[in-house]
Assembly symmetry: C2
Amino acid sequence: MAVYTEVSDEELQAFIGEYAIGTVLACKGIAEGIENSNYLLTTAQGNFILTLYERRVRREDLPYFLGLMSHLSAKGVACPVPVEGRDGHALRELCGRPAAIVSFLAGMWPRRPTAQQCHALGAAMARMHLAGADFPMRRANDLSLDGWRTLHRATQGSADRVQPGLAARIDGALAELTEAWPRSLPSGVIHADLFPDNVFFLEDRLSGFIDFYFACNDFLAYDMAVALNAWCFERTGEFNVTASRQMIAGYQSVRRLEPAERTALPALCRGAALRFLLTRLYDWLNTPEGALVRRKDPLEYLARLNFHARVADASGYGFD
Amino acid sequence: MAVYTEVSDEELQAFIGEYAIGTVLACKGIAEGIENSNYLLTTAQGNFILTLYERRVRREDLPYFLGLMSHLSAKGVACPVPVEGRDGHALRELCGRPAAIVSFLAGMWPRRPTAQQCHALGAAMARMHLAGADFPMRRANDLSLDGWRTLHRATQGSADRVQPGLAARIDGALAELTEAWPRSLPSGVIHADLFPDNVFFLEDRLSGFIDFYFACNDFLAYDMAVALNAWCFERTGEFNVTASRQMIAGYQSVRRLEPAERTALPALCRGAALRFLLTRLYDWLNTPEGALVRRKDPLEYLARLNFHARVADASGYGFD
């Protein structure tokens, strides 16, 4: 739930005047996206999404994100498409913030994903990985090992306030992953944040991906590791191996995972769990009381990290 | 900013199945309305608003609110129109809450209302008052004198935590208004919450009213008193008599205020200021820390109450 920046009528009219998308009929702040201010913009031509980029999204990364959405969409991967202004630029400024209008993607994110939806996600993720292969821009994953170390340093003094022993547990996991992290695997453009709220469905058909603001170049199988963490645990905390098996099967129906990717999967899953444990922990410790943001529980990802630490090999995720 | 209830895919599909509004393409929580959960629902037929009624809106009042919107709309007053399901009912249930779908009203609310918009509001308010004259249902204003006394009792023990002397000030204002409150004035259906965020414009044309969930039968001029409080003070606290004069002129271009209404205006304005002072004070004292609601400053309305207390007669509001 976001909407941080309030846009005045005059600013909005002036901004929209730069586009050829018809007169504005409505502009409503929507509860989508944690990091940015999102508005559902209705014009004579239909619905659009207007995003003002707030904290955490670096201005210099925006051409990568917007370029990627245009690239993927041109390759048939359904996602919001940046709309260019009359001057050919999609990235503009509004209320002192970088801002863009993207097309409206129909669909709803699944509140309780089914195994069938996990299969659809796997297949669509693989198609996205293939479609990204010739995207010419590059962006390093700033939330991989180095980024985790930075977050650990920033949180280790306070982590035990959330749970005694947490700082030491993170320290141990980081040391272990420094050893276990793959040196080389098939790489390319990954979404890196494939949570259910970033994947839209119309009934059981996957209608597209949104929120590419963590996208980067990294191991393709790491995208799968994030999604296994985000989609395959029940609300009660149990791992749902049926969901996981379906996601992997869906992925492999489009792109076969290589033996090295399969071997690396448990480590990649531990890394993905640690990544969300650390960012949630950082937010937990740094969100001011009364902020209009629902803090997500970091310990949910400690439990997932602990689960992955007990997985001996990829068969634990339902690989046949 | 609201959205309290999360609707699952299955619940939404089952609910929408009761309507003939086409297949659902999207459903996004919107930051509109403080009291209820609002979703912008996009179907093959266009945009709608889905509202789940949360705290404060009493189920037994909903037929009045929904009936009023249908009535006003049929009389040419632009507002959301409740959409009936296949069984002819507009009021249904979703996630254990009363729920309704209403038509999408184009427009945006003015962040900084102009005097011209105040004139348009006055005229549209008067047209709404005339259109409501033959609405057959009745609902008492539960936020008039009796309601203020209840809120005062609930807050007087803690009010001085917000500002020393506040409880005594409210006590004095209540006693004074008990004497000064008009016994009889032209009455009818009023909106009772005509803040800028409930009045939509397309450029400078008023496109309609939303959020009728405080509507009731009361003195028509009390609606004006609420709007004078809500629209005619600068952010710095000064009263803008030009805006006020325009609002009154707009109103009188449609319906002339009677001498008794003119005489009563300062008392009605004090009452309206006290009403928002009290409800904001109550919310301020009763909103849990960390709730996803921005608390509104009650003292803003203490300042307005103090302003009105110094107004000798209606000429203070720009009456000629």
